[in-house]
């Protein structure tokens, strides 16, 4: 791909369309797993994962479809897992909330807020011991910064100078409670900046800005400067859990939503490709069709696999030597 912005757009489009397919097929009741949709927030995962590259180690949250797809692009096994099929990432045992694909650098997601943050410390400690130069990235929402585990982890990472990129995807709400009703302070970045941890902020929703900012962060980490904290504002389009719009519940102001819709990350990047990077519309359309086809094929293939045999229930609780 000769246009630098096209690969980023492709990843955004992949994440968005996969979730739109989930919205379309979820009512068929064959994907029986709680869906926490990334829709609207994709620029964070795509921008960060693109900058980190395939050598990065990624940990994410229960709202992790975009991070998973951006880092692994493993669409077939993603859908197999959501459908609970035997060939899924975890043979159907994890569902949407615990996606992991260590072969592609994705080390886990969790349904407990903040619980993957400390795992990043140990992954990074091991990388440092192996001297690989790889960075561990941990995504978490702004609800996670209410948890003690976050503060413990920032402290440990700064103390031990661990190569960890902390990425706070701040969509403004922990479940349904806005930040200002939860925080006894005004700026998380100001506080984290008091640790020996560099900080960056972004509220552009622009995938290229986020990608560039991440590259600056990585250069600090890779120079041995310890952890970096990214605070990236974003907006969740759908309900906290589920596939529906929830603006009727009136806990989020309509004008805020409208402002974010105006800077939808796919719209921004598509316009940039055409207006600033000279990409022809037809090239973008071909790319979109290609992504569309691959998703469609993955879904059709996933549904053809069987569910695991009930005897698999007992398999894998412990590691046992053969």
């Amino acid at each position: 791909m000769s246009y630098p912005g096209l690969e980023l757009y492709k990843k955004l489009y992949l994440a968005r369309r996969c979730e739109e397919y989930i919205v379309k097929y979820y009512p068929q009741n064959d994907m029986k797993t709680p869906m926490h949709m990334s829709m609207g927030q994709e620029a964070v995962a795509v921008g960060v994962c693109h900058a980190v590259g395939s050598t990065g180690l990624v940990l994410a949250t229960y709202r992790s479809h975009a991070a998973f797809l951006a880092h692994t692009q493993n669409v077939p096994l993603f859908f197999s897992e959501l459908y609970g099929r035997v060939n899924g990432l975890a043979n159907g045992k994890s569902g949407s909330m615990h996606l992991a694909d260590p072969d592609h650098g994705h080390w886990g997601s969790s349904g407990i807020v903040a619980s993957t943050i400390p795992i990043a410390l140990g992954l990074a400690f091991a990388q440092k011991r192996k001297n690989t130069g790889a960075t561990t990235v941990v995504f978490f929402g702004d609800g996670a910064i209410d948890e003690g585990s976050f503060w413990e982890s920032i402290n440990v990472a700064a103390l031990m100078k661990l190569p960890v990129l902390f990425v706070c995807e701040d969509n403004g709400y922990a479940v349904h409670t806005p930040s200002k009703k939860r925080h006894g302070y005004d700026s998380i970045v100001d506080i984290v900046g008091q640790f020996r941890c560099a900080t960056f902020s972004d509220d552009s929703n622009d995938v290229e800005s986020i990608c560039n900012m991440t590259q600056q962060a990585l250069s600090i980490i890779q120079a041995g400067g310890g952890p970096v904290f990214l605070h990236i504002k974003c907006y969740r389009y759908l309900e906290h859990v589920g596939i529906n719009d929830d603006m009727k519940d009136a806990y989020r102001p309509v004008e805020i939503q409208e402002a974010w819709l105006k800077k939808d990350c796919l719209v921004l990047q598509r316009l940039r490709l055409i207006n600033e990077q000279g990409v022809e519309e037809i090239v973008i359309q071909q790319l979109e069709e290609q992504v569309e086809t691959s998703i469609h094929h993955s879904i059709v293939a996933a549904k053809q696999y069987s569910s695991p045999d009930p005897s698999q229930l007992f398999h894998g609780v412990f590691y046992e030597e053969n």
Binding site: L89, H98, P102, S115, P118, A120, G122, G316, F318, Y319
Partner: protein, 347 residues
């Protein structure tokens, strides 16, 4: 060829042996590398292996447990130490929600070779936040192995086996056992992580004991042995998985079973054992299974109340007498709690 060593030195030897054998093993936790070295159970590790493999951490049990999970997933073999089991409670989210299910929830793609050593406190006013065992809490969770080594042989061999195991293993050690002397083989040998063991043979009644309660049970067996009553003491060794084979064999022989657990009775390990024995030895039992453990209160500080809180050899003897319909033994000349003579505080 065997030799006598203390439980504490067995722990040191186990970890030293494994750290020499495998460079991925490391030891960390609050004050593991300070001048006291966790009651000297980490003696010499910092000097031999350096601060990258033996280090103190911030007081962040939750994050440092997750740290261990990440390190274990990524090819290292962490040993995380809690000076008291009670402090491990601060790590429960990582242990119960993350570590226990990480392998299962990945469809077997990950393995988690992670050892937690946690120490039970008792005596000298430890009171209600420094005395818990909690083995039944963690044993309740599938995906965690839980062991309670009682003898120096097991402190050495089970700790070595736990470090080599590719699963999370929580090893719960009683502080009073640290000075216990026992025979171990001339060379360091692993011991199996499951399977109970008869530590005092007898024919009249069976006591299944955990951790320190084995010491109490053996003292009870010795006292009653002088009256011609032979008590078989079975050390549970591992709480999860718990293999009841040896216990069932013993109860089928004696027809009587007491569970002496170093824990509260309600919803405890003793209930699990009693249920299994009732099921498996139903026709052989001559009396219902009895359970002994802590009084159903928080542990008080002051000595007279603390004495009333714990169950020991005396209560075991009285329970045996009641079950076997024996007259009470004269215990006026007996001296129990012998290991406590080594405790003069603050620990």
């Amino acid at each position: 060829m065997s030799r006598m060593i203390t439980y504490r030195d067995a722990l040191v030897e186990a970890v030293t042996h494994e750290m020499r054998r495998d460079s991925s093993v490391f030891v960390y936790g609050i004050d593991v590398a300070d001048h006291k070295r966790i009651f000297d159970s980490n003696k010499g590790l910092l000097e031999e292996f350096g601060p990258n493999r033996c280090f103190n951490t911030p007081l962040s049990e939750d994050a440092m447990t997750g740290f261990g999970l990440g390190a274990a997933l990524n090819g290292l073999r962490p040993i995380h130490i809690h000076m008291r089991v009670d402090f491990m409670i601060l790590a429960m989210n990582q242990l119960v929600n993350m570590i226990s299910s990480f392998r299962y929830g990945s469809g077997g793609r990950f393995k988690v070779p992670f050892v937690v050593r946690a120490i039970i406190g008792r005596g000298w006013g430890q009171s209600f936040q420094h005395n818990k065992s909690l083995h039944s809490w963690v044993a309740h969770i599938p995906g965690l192995k839980v062991i309670m080594p009682t003898s120096p042989k097991d402190a050495l061999g089970m700790t070595m086996a736990a470090i080599r195991d590719d699963n999370p293993v929580i090893s719960i050690e009683h502080r009073w056992l640290y000075d216990a002397l026992g025979a171990v083989s001339h060379t360091a040998e692993t011991q199996p992580l499951t399977g109970a063991e008869v530590i005092h043979p007898g024919n009249d009644i069976t006591i299944l004991a955990t951790s320190w309660m084995n010491i109490e049970a053996k003292q009870a067996a010795e006292v009653l042995g002088r009256r011609g009553v032979t008590v078989e003491v079975v050390d549970a060794r591992s709480i999860s998985p718990f293999d009841e084979t040896v216990l069932v064999e013993s109860v089928n022989k004696t027809g009587y079973c007491i569970v002496a657990d170093n824990d509260w009775v309600h919803c405890g390990f003793g209930a699990e054992v009693a249920a299994r024995i009732s099921h498996t030895c139903f026709g052989r039992l001559k009396a219902p299974v009895e359970r002994l453990g802590f009084a159903p209160t928080p542990c008080p500080c002051t000595r007279p109340l603390e004495n009333a809180f714990y169950t020991g050899a005396t209560e075991i003897i009285r329970t045996i007498e009641s079950m076997l319909k024996l007259s009470p033994t004269d215990l006026s000349g007996e001296h129990f709690f012998s290991y406590e003579k080594k405790f003069k505080g603050p620990f």
